[in-house]
């Protein structure tokens, strides 16, 4: 019976053995192929992901919304609930992206569709007569912040 490995190797009076470990070729090939495939996949994934990110950086322009809504952030108190009007086609991706990005940037203010609030945010995709747009909905133009962002106040009811 062989001595335990450590004792055998650490006893100077005995002849030292060197341990040679081999694996079946099937296992070596399998492990090597798995490693190489993974690394190939990592490089492949890097190339495609990097190209995609450079092609469509910030596709909904969320970072730019912080600049667009900066005047609203300073004009409207944090606890306010704002109404919301837009010229985007209802139900379209642009419509959803405009509303949700406004909610994100203006939080903790709440933004909700409609004009039933003291403050109403106008979020427009193209130039227009914003004062007339508001007036037709019972809103008074409070501040044209530029870049299609308009702040309205609800007209006092007569």
């Amino acid at each position: 019976m062989a001595l335990p490995h450590s004792l055998y190797n650490e006893t100077s009076i005995m002849a030292r053995d060197r341990e040679q470990v081999r694996y079946p070729a099937r296992i070596v090939a399998g492990v090597a192929a798995a490693v190489l495939f993974c690394l190939g996949g990592a490089f492949q994934s890097y190339g495609l992901e990097s190209a995609y990110q450079h092609q469509s950086p910030d596709p909904y322009q969320i970072s730019a919304q912080f600049v667009r809504f900066a005047p609203v952030l300073s004009a409207v108190p944090e606890n306010a609930v704002l109404g919301y009007v837009t010229d985007a086609e209802p139900g379209s991706t642009v419509d959803s992206a405009l509303l949700l990005s406004a909610e994100y940037v203006l939080a903790p203010r709440l933004v909700t569709r409609g004009t039933n609030h003291d403050w109403v945010l106008g979020n427009f995709t193209r130039p227009a007569d914003f004062a007339a747009f508001g007036k037709s909905r019972g809103l008074r133009l409070q501040q044209d912040c530029g870049n299609g962002v308009v702040l309205y106040r609800k007209e006092p009811q007569t």
């Binding site: 053995d17 081999r22 399998g30 798995a34 490693v35 996949g41 994934s45 992901e49 944090e78 994100y104």
Partner: protein
């Protein structure tokens, strides 16, 4: 950037908790023990601090109390860990891993490549993808806000797109770091997602090493670190990678016979996403069937987070309808619509194929190793346990698609790829856990050194 300090503090607190309260430090080899402590500690620490902030900072209105409690706990745990010396590690059986330094080098290289790709996304798309700013980070901004505005995070006014009924682990954690640092830095949600990715890799490497040896442990981690769909989701800043980490972690710790830890991670899965709630129920059911001896301990581990979810859903967010509740009207009609099954099945097949990046599909490494190493009969029970949970989870997702009142094509297109990412790591780990360990096939010959020298001289 000070927000990052609070991300790291949560990770450290979690690692101290795991080190102090579990016996993972005694696991062999030691590097696998440290990986498991990091993996469980990072995921658990984020979960614990998220819950603590939600109670103290949001419900009681005192973020300072949460901060003080965390720091006090960390100081005490640090002292405890230093005071109590780690038990002497047991001598492990001699293992002969196959080309371990090469695989470890490959893993580090893959992690470096993955991180470089993510860095491009962090730079060019700092706010993350749609759901990041429309759901998770939006709600984090509410939770971080002062003066009692935090309850807006689950206000029905937010609308159906924002899913105010979703659980709050990720949002509360990000909000916590923003509140503690008094700044809303995009680095916090990006780092949170990345920490979960690293935790997942660490859990895979450490867990499979303990189960099946270091060669398969590192290969499992490598196959996840190079999986394109997983890598794509990390910089998106969604809750799917955290959920994937909790699902994989819970199953791994169940296989490692650590039922309390498994239960805790399964509970946090439920506090992360609604799909995690389904996972928790299936996980507990599978534990009761396959691992009855550990069922009570698993339930005990899951109880605190499950209670959190129940309280949130039933008391706070009860005004918001869920995807399931909104799907119930007209469900009987949709169940019998055969075309929906065809649409969903085709989408599942398409998405599975679409997980590839160019020529590389992330199933390839496991497929190659399954051919080379073959599955081990003695691991059938473990594999049955893991695959039963994951198959039932996928079946549950399939059922939701059949039931949903939303346009099924839109629903599949916008969510299915992410649902597959949630279960993919656990599927891969379950597969690796069932393989023959290559170390067992080592052919060892002892040659007298003098003979070797003679041979070399000749």
């Amino acid at each position: 950037m000070t927000g990052l300090i609070w991300v790291l503090e949560a990770v450290l607190l979690g690692c101290l908790l795991v080190y102090r309260w579990t016996d993972l430090r005694t696991v062999q080899p030691a590097w696998a023990a440290w990986l498991l402590i990091f993996g469980a500690g990072a995921a658990g620490g984020i979960g614990v601090t998220s819950c603590l902030f939600f109670v103290c900072g949001v419900l009681l209105g005192s973020p300072l109390a949460a901060l003080v409690l965390e720091l006090a706990a960390m100081a005490w745990l640090g002292y405890e860990c230093l005071r109590r010396r780690a038990p002497v590690a047991q001598t492990s059986a001699e293992t002969r891993p196959v080309a371990l330094p090469w695989i470890a080098g490959g893993l580090l290289l893959a992690l470096g490549i993955a991180t470089a790709a993510m860095a491009i996304a962090w730079d060019l798309n700092a706010q993350g993808n749609w759901d990041a700013w429309a759901i998770w980070n939006l709600r984090a901004r509410f939770l971080a806000s002062p003066a009692g505005l935090a309850e807006r995070a689950w206000s029905p006014v937010l609308g159906s797109f924002t899913h105010a009924e979703y659980p709050l682990l990720i949002s509360a954690f990000v909000g916590r770091a923003w509140a503690f640092s008094h700044s809303v830095s995009t680095a916090v949600p990006a780092a949170t997602s990345y920490v979960f990715f690293l935790a997942l890799i660490a859990l895979a490497a450490g867990g499979v090493t303990v189960l099946r040896g270091p060669t398969l442990g590192l290969l499992a981690a490598l196959s996840l670190a190079s999986a394109p769909p997983l890598l794509r989701e990390v910089p998106a800043q969604y809750a799917d990678v955290p959920l994937a980490a909790y699902i994989a972690g819970a199953i791994l710790f169940a296989l490692l016979d650590r039922p309390i830890l498994a239960g805790i991670l399964a509970g946090f899965a439920a506090w992360t996403k609604d799909e995690g709630l389904l996972f928790l129920l299936l996980f507990l059911a599978a534990t009761a069937i396959f691992r009855r001896r550990t069922a009570l301990a698993t339930c005990a581990g899951a109880l605190p987070a499950a209670a959190f979810v129940a309280a949130f859903k039933l008391l706070l967010a009860r005004g918001n309808g869920s995807l399931l509740s909104s799907s119930l009207p007209g469900a009987s009609h949709r169940i019998f619509d055969v075309s929906r099954y065809g649409t969903a099945l085709a989408a599942f097949g398409r998405e599975f194929i679409g997980m590839a990046s160019g020529w590389y599909h992330p199933i390839l490494p496991l497929a190659i190793l399954a051919v080379a190493l073959r599955f081990e009969r003695e691991r059938r029970r473990d594999m049955a346990f893991s695959f039963a949970i994951l198959a039932a989870l996928l079946l549950g997702y399939f059922g939701i698609y059949i039931l949903t009142a939303n346009d099924i094509v839109w629903q599949l297109q916008t969510s299915l790829s992410r649902l597959l990412v949630q279960v993919w790591p656990a599927l891969i780990l379950a597969g690796f856990a069932g393989l023959h360990a290559p170390e067992a096939a080592a052919i060892v010959t002892r040659v007298a050194e003098s003979r070797v020298r003679r041979k070399a001289r000749a």
